[in-house]
């Protein structure tokens, strides 16, 4: 891999990578069983530089922001590189947000350019907020007959001639990544080139890539993990990234075999789905075959207790490994609570799952399991260069995890107050509760903050979705994470609860419940409220009439049981 210490920016490192690995394949894009694109590093460069030249003509200057809103595909990475080449700052936005949310974040980050996939652009054009959009927009894969409302076609947006590479310093802003905050207070994490280069260095120290690695990019590239492990990491190591245009489980399974995938990152929801599929296959085996399978699984388990031995596991369990392409080296997981039984299930089959922990504010990853030996009950040890502390530990040693590392973001965009609350004396307060065991592994036990992380790895802050319930015929309402109201020292069972204060004499009727359910359905499935609770007192409020959430949560937690929550 490239020696990242010698680079001052991601753009410079990527530029060298494209020359260094010229003939290696860097990207494969597949749609169902059709391969759409296969690019070498040289091809990638040839596609990116004319775009960079056109961005230069469009006056994208150093430090100016260019948002990317696209599903995972080669154009995403080509666009990001072209932006870096001009000294610009990519702002990757979650393609699963609504059009109104996209427009809100484009305004918040003051994007000069927005590169948008056609179906998302179509939705944005129909949004009432569309008229306020200031950015110059490039639309990918638009049908020739489509009216793009003044936007340019990405495919045509290229100029001849050599663009000028704009150097950046390590402390300059590399990307702005929104960790949440669409309906409430946007949390735009400002990450520097230093953050990314150091993160990449420490991750590849434990999990190196090399030419020949084929990384399956399933998590959205706008997510900090895929941006690092499915773009920067593979590129500086000369590896290949495989994109799928459909993430249906059957095509994801096929891709493992077709492209002989070596590494993949999955969120718990996908990993559990994979587990269900494998278990269903096992259940279909005859009694005799099942007996043999169980025997070899037990044998593999005993041989790999100390550390993984993928070659031996492939020999012991060839059919299982063949179903995953036969070359899988590791699955990375994290971003949300992962049941230890799922991790154990795969490890016992000889498929190492490295469970980790991180947050966008910390670059990407703070801790990860080094598999020496495999542990299913922890999120691993701090990566090289990461210092962690447990603040105000209780009698069991559990307290808030604080991080100090060169990977920690610079600040939240345009929010010095929130930055000051989050980074104190150079330590990032994660809001997560944890404890170190005797072997230096971090174990997580819940959250100090009022938010949930879904199985799909999405951070949901109650404040962001409260506006959806505006107009609900009650006196007042407030949304909380259940584990914030009733801390359980666990990361499972994460749901949002809507606390309702009814009008005098009002009852919680079926009509009211249906009204709430109907509003709830306006939210994407992963953002929905899971239950409601009727509260008999007025909410405590500040002088400016803001709800005192912490005080209310404490009162509810003390006087009501979690069982009082009515499922929605």
């Amino acid at each position: 891999m490239l020696n990242l210490d010698q680079y001052s920016s991601l753009g410079a490192a990527l530029r060298d990578a494209l020359d260094r690995w010229g003939d290696e394949t860097c990207l494969i894009e597949s749609d169902r069983d059709r391969e759409r694109t296969r690019l070498t590093y040289s091809d990638f460069k040839e596609l990116a530089l004319p775009l960079a030249r056109a961005l230069e003509d469009a006056e994208l200057h150093a430090s100016e922001r260019a948002a990317i809103i696209m599903t995972n595909q080669s154009k995403w990475l080509i666009s990001a590189y072209a932006i870096f080449y001009c000294g610009g700052v990519p702002v990757p936005l979650d393609y699963k947000l609504t059009a109104a949310e996209h427009l809100q974040l484009l305004a918040h980050c003051k994007a000069k350019i927005a590169i948008v996939e056609y179906y998302l652009w179509r939705a944005m054009m129909q949004s009432p907020e569309f008229k306020n959009l200031k950015a110059l927009v490039l639309v990918t894969e638009a049908p020739l007959s489509a009216d793009l409302a003044g936007a340019f076609r990405w495919e045509d947006f290229r100029r001849k001639g050599n663009p000028i590479f704009v150097p950046r310093k390590r402390e300059d802003v590399a990307c702005i990544v929104y960790s949440s905050g669409t309906g409430g207070r946007p949390k735009g994490c400002v990450l520097t080139h230093e953050n990314y280069l150091e993160q990449c260095k420490s991750l590849t120290a434990w999990y190196p890539f090399w030419p020949g690695v084929r990384y399956l990019s399933v998590l959205p590239t706008n997510h900090a993990i895929d941006f690092m492990v499915g773009f920067i990491g593979p590129f500086v190591c000369g590896a290949c990234v495989v994109h799928l245009r459909t993430l249906r489980p059957e095509f994801v399974r096929d891709a493992f075999v077709r492209y002989k995938i070596t590494h993949v990152s999955l969120v718990p929801m996908v990993l559990k789905n994979l587990e269900r599929g494998v278990r269903a296959k096992f259940e279909g085996l005859s009694a005799l075959k099942r007996l043999f399978l169980d025997y070899f699984v037990a044998l593999n388990k005993s041989f790999t207790r100390g550390s993984p031995n993928v070659k031996l596991s492939r020999w012991l369990l060839p059919q299982v490994h063949k179903a995953f392409g036969g070359e899988l080296v590791a699955i990375f997981t994290g971003g949300a609570f992962m049941e230890p039984s799922t991790l154990e299930f795969f490890y016992e089959l000889g498929i190492p799952v490295a469970n980790g922990y991180g947050l966008t504010e910390a670059g990407t990853v703070l801790t990860v399991n080094d598999l020496k030996p495999f542990r299913a009950d922890t999120v691993g040890k701090p990566l090289p260069g990461v210092e962690l502390r447990i603040l105000n530990p209780d009698s069991e040693g559990i307290g808030e995890v604080a991080a100090h590392s060169k990977t920690v973001m610079s600040h939240y965009l345009d929010d010095p107050e929130l930055t000051a609350e989050t980074i104190v004396d150079g330590w990032l307060l994660t809001g997560d509760l944890g404890r170190f065991d005797g072997k230096g592994h971090l174990q997580l036990f819940g959250r100090k903050k009022n938010m949930i992380v879904t199985e799909g790895g999405k951070n949901i802050y109650p404040e962001d979705i409260e506006s959806t319930f505006e107009g609900t015929p009650v006196k007042e309402y407030c949304i909380f994470a259940a584990n914030y109201l009733w801390p359980e020292k666990t990361l499972g069972r994460e749901i949002l609860v809507m606390v309702l204060r009814l009008e005098e004499g009002q009852e919680f009727t079926t009509t009211l419940k249906d009204e709430i359910i109907s509003r709830n359905r306006r939210l994407p499935d992963f953002k929905r409220v899971g239950g409601s609770l009727v509260w008999e007192k007025d909410f405590p409020r500040t002088a400016s009439m803001k709800i005192k959430r912490a005080m209310l949560a404490e009162e509810i937690g003390k006087s009501r049981e979690r069982t009082a929550v009515i499922e929605l």
């Binding site: 609504t98 459909t246 249906r248 059957e250 992963f526 929905r528």
Partner: protein
């Protein structure tokens, strides 16, 4: 050409078969995440079955923001 109601009816039958529930338990305006107790990934599994049945291609994004069978039928109808 199928009418929207016919498309909807066929989707409900296919979904019932796919998720192994009785057809009469599914209604057009049901929130399928709730009725079927499935997540977004499991709903994606249904798409291939629908593609094969209706002989169309449905990009994953057509499911974005869709949580009931009627809306799904509208998306499919637009591609027939």
């Amino acid at each position: 050409m199928l009418t929207l109601n016919q498309t909807l009816e066929q989707i409900l039958t296919l979904a019932a078969a796919h998720f192994k529930v009785a057809r009469e338990k599914l209604a057009p305006d049901d929130d399928f995440f709730r009725t079927l107790g499935i997540n977004s990934l499991q709903t994606l599994e249904l798409l291939t079955r629908l593609e094969n049945h209706f002989q169309i291609e449905l990009p994953d994004y057509e499911l974005q923001g869709v949580s009931d069978f009627r809306m799904l039928a509208e998306r499919i109808q637009a591609r027939l």
